[in-house]
């Protein structure tokens, strides 16, 4: 991620990974306007897995809460923990002990002023979305706590239907106080806060994983009859194109926040296509 000067449009960074033959994955991110790149508190992680039966691609986004301390570190640890594990269900959250220990260790012995010490005692918090894509079987499984969102769009280039928005479906459902995963031992989300969803994939489907501000804005644009799906599919590919989208968004209701957007375009594997 590249730094951006204060008071200027944040220069977004683009990361691009060809994670598998079946998927084209691009990751875009930029810090809140007015903040430096070091102050960006979202995180993302990506890994291709080959172990059956969970072979595929694992991708995660996490959003460290502004009103918590050392949230970037926690967001990174949660996202990395997901892509390095092989579970797709709620049991993932029971396996965050190592991440919590690491978070504590990074703070241990650090001389902190009274306010920083007390804030750190509360722990850090992050929203999380992890998606396992089984490209050969043309399906996905998503796990979420908080307001990072997965959007699936099909018939790309034609009618562009939104097949799924998960875990939030409408822009009006986003709030400034979501329930998040905490870095302290009592930060494990209760069962009712954990969201799981599954879906199937067709050739050309687009999956978008986004942190809250960009997800809310994309859904709002869709609700208002000005969807950006086609543009995201065809035009989003470079840092410049992402910067253009952010600049447009800031003039059209995109809340100032850290932005992270992962775009996955699925292509049928030859084997799966032949079997169907």
């Amino acid at each position: 991620m590249c730094a951006c000067a204060e008071h200027q449009l944040a220069a977004p960074a683009v990361n691009h990974a060809e994670a598998a033959n079946e998927c084209d994955i691009k990751v875009f991110s930029c810090p809140k306007s007015g903040n430096s790149a070091e102050e960006y508190e979202d995180a993302w992680a990506l890994r291709q897995t080959r172990t059956p039966p969970t072979g595929g691609i694992r991708v995660a986004v996490a959003d460290g809460a502004t009103e918590s301390s050392f949230a970037k570190l926690w967001a990174v640890l949660v996202a990395e923990s997901y892509v390095r594990s092989e579970v797709t269900g709620a049991e993932f959250f029971e396996r965050l002990a190592a991440a919590r220990r690491l978070w504590r260790q990074r703070l241990a012995g650090r001389p902190l002023p009274w306010f920083a010490s007390e804030k750190a005692e509360q722990g850090a918090f992050a929203a999380f979305l992890g998606v396992q894509i089984d490209a050969h079987e043309n399906r996905w499984t998503a796990l979420a706590v908080g307001d990072c969102c997965l959007m699936q769009v099909d018939d790309v280039g034609k009618r562009m239907r939104v097949l799924k928005a998960f875990p939030l479906e409408k822009s009006s459902q986003f709030t400034m106080s979501p329930y998040l995963i905490g870095s302290r031992s009592n930060g494990e989300p209760p069962h009712e806060r954990i969201q799981i969803s599954k879906g199937s994939l067709r050739d050309g489907d687009m999956l978008l994983l986004a942190t809250d501000a960009v997800a809310a804005w994309l859904l709002k644009q869709h609700e208002n009859g000005r969807p950006l799906w086609k543009w995201l599919y065809r035009k989003l590919g470079t840092p410049e194109s992402f910067a253009a989208m952010v600049a447009y968004g800031r003039k059209h209701g995109l809340r100032n926040d850290d932005f992270t957007l992962v775009r996955v375009i699925h292509h049928d594997s030859p084997v799966a296509a032949k079997e169907r």
Binding site: F70, R100, A116, P178, Y179, D212
Partner: protein, 281 residues
């Protein structure tokens, strides 16, 4: 739409506290088990500054999302009430305030031991303000001084979120009509709206706590009613946030609290995502 300005380090918010230091504040507080009103006021103010500091703390530093001032009024004058190195200052960035309390006491509290248990822990407890009460209650003079301070703030931060003035008193102004004195204050405006005045009434009159009422019908005396009349209506975001925090807020709620600790007030301004699972103190 007013009251939409983003609060950031570049465009900070402003809290100005007006604190009653008159002799009547030495009387017992109705909700305080023999505690004096002046002691209750000091507790409230120290907790508000403490919580505001924690709210703005970010990793090992503190972000200046807010500038904070304290004006005390007693005898026949009104003056800046922060002490020590901050003496005489009207408004101070929160980072400076957090770094310069009068003293830091040590207290014991129970906390998470990181392994599912609970342990006793010594924590720092900063004190910025000690109880004090003497003479009359020149509340109108305080509102007049506050008007000048927020007017200057609005000139210097024309696009910022309007200042919030929080008056903590037992309600008996001795220098005039406080409702009339409040009007010029709430008429001060920037591009994002007018300054807001909230009143915290610490009364010797016993009765149930009342928070953010929409009308004055249940208020126990004329002092409470005058403070209610002088209080600003909450913005839609504040109503939504107050409701989220479990307070009985509605569309016409005013920033008025009777015999209760107003600790949620500092959360009425948005500075970014706040975890719903953090318990507010």
């Amino acid at each position: 739409m007013p009251y939409q300005a983003e609060i950031s380090r570049k465009n900070p918010g402003c809290f100005l506290f007006l604190v009653d230091q008159s002799e009547s504040m030495e009387d017992p507080f109705a909700g305080g088990n023999g505690k004096k009103k002046a002691e209750e006021l000091a507790t409230i103010l120290n907790k508000l500054i403490h919580n505001l500091s924690i709210r703005c703390a970010k990793s090992d530093s503190i972000y200046d999302y807010f500038h904070v001032g304290v004006l005390g009024y007693s005898e026949d004058s009104c003056k800046p009430a922060l002490g020590g190195e901050l003496s005489g200052r009207s408004l101070v960035p929160i980072s400076e305030l957090a770094g310069k309390p009068l003293r830091i006491e040590e207290r014991t509290k129970q906390s998470d031991d990181g392994a599912g248990g609970v342990m006793e822990q010594t924590v720092k407890f900063p004190v910025w303000f000690d109880p004090y009460g003497k003479g009359g209650t020149p509340m109108c003079a305080a509102l007049k001084d506050a008007t000048k301070i927020v007017a200057t703030w609005c000139q210097e931060h024309p696009q910022g979120f309007p200042p919030i003035v929080i008056n903590i008193t037992d309600g008996e102004a001795t220098d005039g009509d406080l409702v009339a004195a409040a009007r010029p204050l709430t008429a001060v405006s920037g591009e994002d709206g007018s300054a807001l005045l909230f009143n915290i009434h610490l009364s010797s009159t016993a009765g149930p706590s009342i928070e953010l009422p929409g009308d004055a019908s249940k208020l126990p005396d004329q002092h409470a009613k005058a403070l209610f009349d002088a209080s600003s209506t909450l913005t839609p975001f504040m109503v939504a946030r107050a409701t989220e925090l479990g307070l009985p807020a509605a569309e016409n709620s005013r920033g008025f609290i009777f015999n209760a600790q107003p600790l949620h007030v500092i959360h009425f301004l948005d500075i970014g995502t706040r975890p719903a699972n953090v318990r507010l103190r």
